[in-house]
C-alpha cells in the first residue's frame, strides 16, 4: 500500500498582496508525525490554512499533492472529505449549533453516510472520554463561551470523531494548562496510527513530551530552513531561532 500522504512542492502563497509562503517543500508519509516550528509570522499558520484551502490565501506557485492528487484548487469541504483536517488556532464560535449536532453533520459529510443518532452519540461519548471532556459539552453550542483550553480540546475531539488521514494541528497546545496539554497530547498520540499523518505546529516542546515525533521542520520567512528530529526541537528550545535566522540571511542566495 502506498504510504505517501502529502507532497508539497515549491509552494508559494500570498494574502492580498503580501507574499507569505516562498517555496515550501515537504513530504509526509502515513504513520508519521511531523512538527513545524518557527518564529511568529514565519508562515506556519499560513501553511496550515493553505493546505486546508482558506479562500483568502492564494497559491502563486508550486503544488500541493494529497495521496497523489493535486489539490491546489480543491474546495475546502472537498479537502475535508478527502481526509484533511485542521485544528484551528482560534476556533470559531457558532451560536445555536450544538457540538453533537455539528459533529454528526460533519461526520455524515466526510463519510458520505448518514449517522444514526444513537450510534453517533455512542461514538461521541467514547471520544469525549478519551479526551477527558464532560459529556454535557455535547449539548453546548459549538465553542460558545468555551475557554481557550476547552476550544482546543474540542478541536481534538473533532479530529477524534472525524478520523482524518492528515491532521494539521495549529498551536493546539497554546492556551492549555499543564494538565490539559498532557490530556490533549496523549489523546493525539492515541489517535496517531499507521493510516494517518499528523502535522503539529507549535511554539513549545511541552506537547512533544508525550508524542513520538518523527521529523521536526523549522520554517523562517516562508521557507523550511532546516529539518531534523527531536534534537532540532531541543536545540531551538535552548538557543532560539537566532542562529537559524542568521544562517538563512547569510545564505540568501541559496
Amino acid at each position: 500500500m502506498d504510504k505517501k500522504l502529502l507532497k508539497i512542492n515549491n509552494l508559494a502563497s500570498k494574502v492580498e498582496k503580501e507574499e507569505i509562503l516562498k517555496g515550501i517543500d515537504l513530504e509526509m508519509n502515513k504513520g508519521e508525525i511531523h512538527v513545524l516550528m518557527g518564529p511568529n509570522g514565519a508562515g506556519k499558520s499560513t501553511l496550515a490554512n493553505v493546505l486546508m484551502g482558506h479562500p483568502e490565501h492564494e497559491i502563486t506557485d508550486g503544488e500541493v499533492n494529497f495521496e497523489g492528487e493535486k489539490i491546489n484548487d480543491l474546495a475546502v469541504d472537498k479537502r475535508a472529505k478527502k481526509g484533511i483536517f485542521l485544528s484551528f488556532q482560534y476556533p470559531e464560535e457558532i451560536p445555536g449549533v450544538t457540538v453533537e449536532n455539528f459533529l454528526r453533520t460533519a461526520k455524515s459529510a466526510v463519510t458520505g453516510e448518514d449517522q444514526s443518532i444513537f450510534d453517533f452519540k455512542f461514538l461521541l461519548e467514547e471520544k469525549m472520554e478519551l479526551l477527558d471532556i464532560d459529556k454535557e459539552y455535547a449539548d453546548r453550542y459549538l465553542n460558545k463561551g468555551f475557554s481557550g483550553g476547552e476550544k482546543k480540546k474540542n478541536e481534538i475531539l473533532q479530529m477524534a470523531v472525524l478520523d482524518p488521514k492528515l491532521a494539521i494541528l495549529d498551536e493546539t497546545d497554546s492556551g492549555l494548562d499543564v494538565d490539559a496539554v498532557k490530556t490533549v497530547a496523549t489523546g493525539i498520540q492515541k489517535l496517531a496510527s499507521d493510516e494517518n499523518g499528523i502535522m503539529i505546529i507549535t511554539h513549545h516542546n511541552r506537547i512533544l513530551d508525550y508524542i513520538d515525533v518523527d521529523y521536526v521542520h523549522v520554517i523562517i520567512d516562508g521557507k523550511i530552513v532546516k529539518s531534523g528530529t527531536m534534537e532540532l526541537a531541543k536545540d531551538i528550545e535552548e538557543n532560539g531561532y537566532e542562529k537559524l535566522k542568521k544562517e538563512q540571511e547569510e545564505c540568501s542566495y541559496c
Binding site: V76, D77, F85, E92, I94, T98, N101, L103, A106
Partner: protein, 468 residues
Amino acid sequence: MSENKVDLKEIDRSIHDKKTDKDYSNRAKIGLTPKIIREISKEKNEPEWMTEFRLKSLEIYQNKPLPDWGADISDLDMDEILTYIKGEGEIQNDWEEVPEDIKNTFDSLGIPEAEKESLAGVGAQYDSEVVYQNLKEELVEQGVIFMDMERALKEHEDIVKEHFMQLVPPDDHKFAALHGAVWSGGSFVYVPEDVEVDIPLQSYFRLNAAGAGQFEHTLIILEKGAKAHFIEGCSAPKYSVNNLHAGTVELFVKEGAELRYSTIENWSKNMYNLNTKRAIVEKDGLIEWVSGSFGSKVSMLYPMSILNGKGARAEYTGVTFAAEDQYLDTGAKVVHAAPHTSSNINARSIAKGGGHAFYRGLLKVTDSADHAKSTVSCESLMLDNDSKSDTVPVMDLNTDDIDIGHEAKVGRISEEAIFYLMSRGISEEEAKAMIVRGFVEPIAKELPLEYAVELNNLINLELEGSIG
C-alpha cells in the same frame, strides 16, 4: 439545536404557493362603498352596532392618509383589492365535512397531522372564512371558548362588544380603519378565571384568491389567573396581483393571567402584510410573543404590549427573514405604564439576496412606571453584500427610577465561520444554513416541535439557491 427538533428535509416551495381551482363567483365588487359594507354585514347577519361600527370605520379609512413612514406602499392599489371573498365552505366541525379541495390544500400544509396528534383545536381560515373548528371536550366543559369571530359575535356578543377594537381602535391608522370596516373571520378565544389550557390552541389560515384582502380579527381574552398558548400560522399562495393583509390581533391578559401568542407567518412574495397586534396586560400578568415573519413583499408589524398593571411582564422573541425584493419592517413595542413592570425583547433578523430587514422598536416608560425593567436585544445577520439591515430602537423614558439594558448587533455572516464549518466537510450552502439556523435557535426553541420544524423548513427554503 438539538436533533430531535430538527427535520432538515426540504419542502417544496410550491406547497405554499399552491392555488386550488375554485369558483369565486360569490366575490364582492372591487372597491369600497358604504353599500358594500352594509351588504357584507347583512350577509353575515350581524347586529346593528357592528354594521354601524363598520360604517364608522369606513369613514375614518376614507379620511385618513397613508402612513408617511416605514415601508413604501405606493404600489398598493386599494381599489383593486377585493375586500371580501366568501368561499363555498361553511364552518365545519368535522374534518370529513371539509370540502375536498380545501382539504387537499390543508393536507399539503400538514394541518390534518396536527389534528391527528390530538392538538387542542384547529381553526383554519380559508380565504376570509374559517372552515374548520374543533376544541377538546374537557376544555369546553371548563368554559373555554375557541371559535371563529363570526360565530363569537352571535353566541358571545357581549364579550365581543366589550373588547372588539378597543385595543386597536379604527382611528389608530388607516389600515386599522380598513380592518374595522371589512374585517372577516379570525379566531376568538376566551379562557375563564383560573383555567389553564395546557395544550396549544392552533389556528392556520391562508389566502387563496388573486387580489383577495384578508382582514381576520383575532380576539383573545384571559380572565384572572388563566393560562393559554395560542398559535397562529399563515401561508398564502403566490399571485401576480398585489395582495393585502391587514389583520388585527387584540389580546387581553387580566390579573395574574399568562398568555403565549406564537405565530409563524409565511406570506407569498407579493403580499403587503400590514398587521396590527396589541396586548394589554394587567397586574402580575404575562404576555409572551413568539413571532416568525417570512415572505411578503412588504411587512409592517410591531406587536405592542401595554403593561397596564403593577408587576405586569412582556416577553418578545422574534425572527424576520427578508430575501430578494422584500422589505420587512418589524419590531416590538412595549409601553410600561405601571410600576415594577418588566419587559424582555429579543429580536433577530436575516437579510439575503438584496432583502431589507428593518428593526423598528419602541420602548416607552410612562412617569408612573417606577422600577420598570427592560432589556432590548436586536441582532441582524446579512448573508451577502447586497442585503440591508437597519435598527431603530426608539426609547421614550419618562421616569428615572428604571433599569434599561439595550444591545444591538448588525453583522454579515462570517467568512471565517463558513471556512471553519467547511473544513469539517460541510458544504458552503449547508454551512450558511447551519449558521442561520443557529442564529434563530433562540426563537426555534420557544416553539412547539412541529412549528420549530416548519421554521427550519422555511429557513432552508429561503436559503435555497442563495449560493452563487
